[in-house]
Symmetry: C2
DNA sequence: AGCTTGCTTGAGAGTAACTCTCAAGTGCTA
DNA sequence: TAGCACTTGAGAGTTACTCTCAAGCAAGCT
């Protein structure tokens, strides 16, 4: 049995967030002790961790509430839950690609700087002189298809 | 010369966001016409696009303001700006890895479902039965090192 | 000229998901 | 008995938008 603080530490999140999730009803059957303090057993910790990961994966609190409710309704809601997770995975996959493009975009500006550092006449790291994101995206596409 | 609305459309962002950025001072020397309407020339559009991409890459509005100020100060601030971009690229790279882990985590839960769909006794897509994120992370590490 | 439609403006309220502060209550130790 | 560490709920603050509103102006129709 862990307190809110201990549960938070174990999962590397803030105690504020743990209480926030609990107050939002994201942890079913969360027990309290005689002094009204939250008690996290293994099941509660499991839910908390799932909330943490689904949030990090891009599911909103609103959708998380729905998901929890569906879980509590029972196995008849399995297809719905499955669809939610498939959509979530697609979103997360899109974020992988987006983040890759962002890295490439920044590194492209940096490459200009590193190359011209000594002889730079123009102000390289000034947006008005930047290569376009479109050009960066095209570069990434080229790399991915190679 | 474009209006706020036209500039927004060209860059695929909302006109609200464009005005927000302009009000935050992120677009230096933004002109107005006789009726006080914003006029986006090529330079302004360039700044707007840079703001869009730096924001998407994870730079906060606060840091963006600083970056714009540094650009306006001149080439003496190049090393500072370079350092900011290097840090930003690192953050974006971290997000690539995180997003990959999130995809893998969700797909791992989905794989359980797909495998046991016919014979499922347990409620597969219920967090209390989920494989741990730690296990997922380990799997990804294994794939990356392979 | 009058009216409508469609754009713009600033001001300000609303949103998500925390994040922080506060006062009050409890338990443990010196 | 005091002090410190910890918990609680309530509520304010934060970021980066996002939306609503009333007011202003411009062009087109009647």
């Amino acid at each position: 049995m862990l307190t809110a603080n201990q549960a938070a530490q174990q999962l590397g999140m803030s105690v504020h967030t743990v209480r926030y999730y609990a107050n939002q009803g994201l942890i079913p059957n969360l027990q309290r002790d005689a002094h009204n303090q939250r008690q996290f057993d293994t099941a509660a910790l499991n839910w908390l961790q799932a909330c943490q990961y689904l949030r990090q994966s891009g599911m909103s609190i609103h959708d998380l509430k729905q998901y929890v409710a569906l879980c509590q309704t029972g196995a008849t809601t399995l297809p719905t839950r499955h669809a939610m997770l498939v959509a979530l995975a697609q979103q997360a996959q899109a974020r992988v690609v987006a983040a890759q493009q962002q890295v490439a975009y920044i590194q492209q500006q940096l490459a200009c700087y590193d190359h011209d550092e000594q002889t730079a006449q123009a102000d390289i790291l000034n947006p008005s002189n930047w290569t376009t994101p479109a050009a960066t995206a095209a570069n990434i596409d080229r790399q991915n298809n190679r």
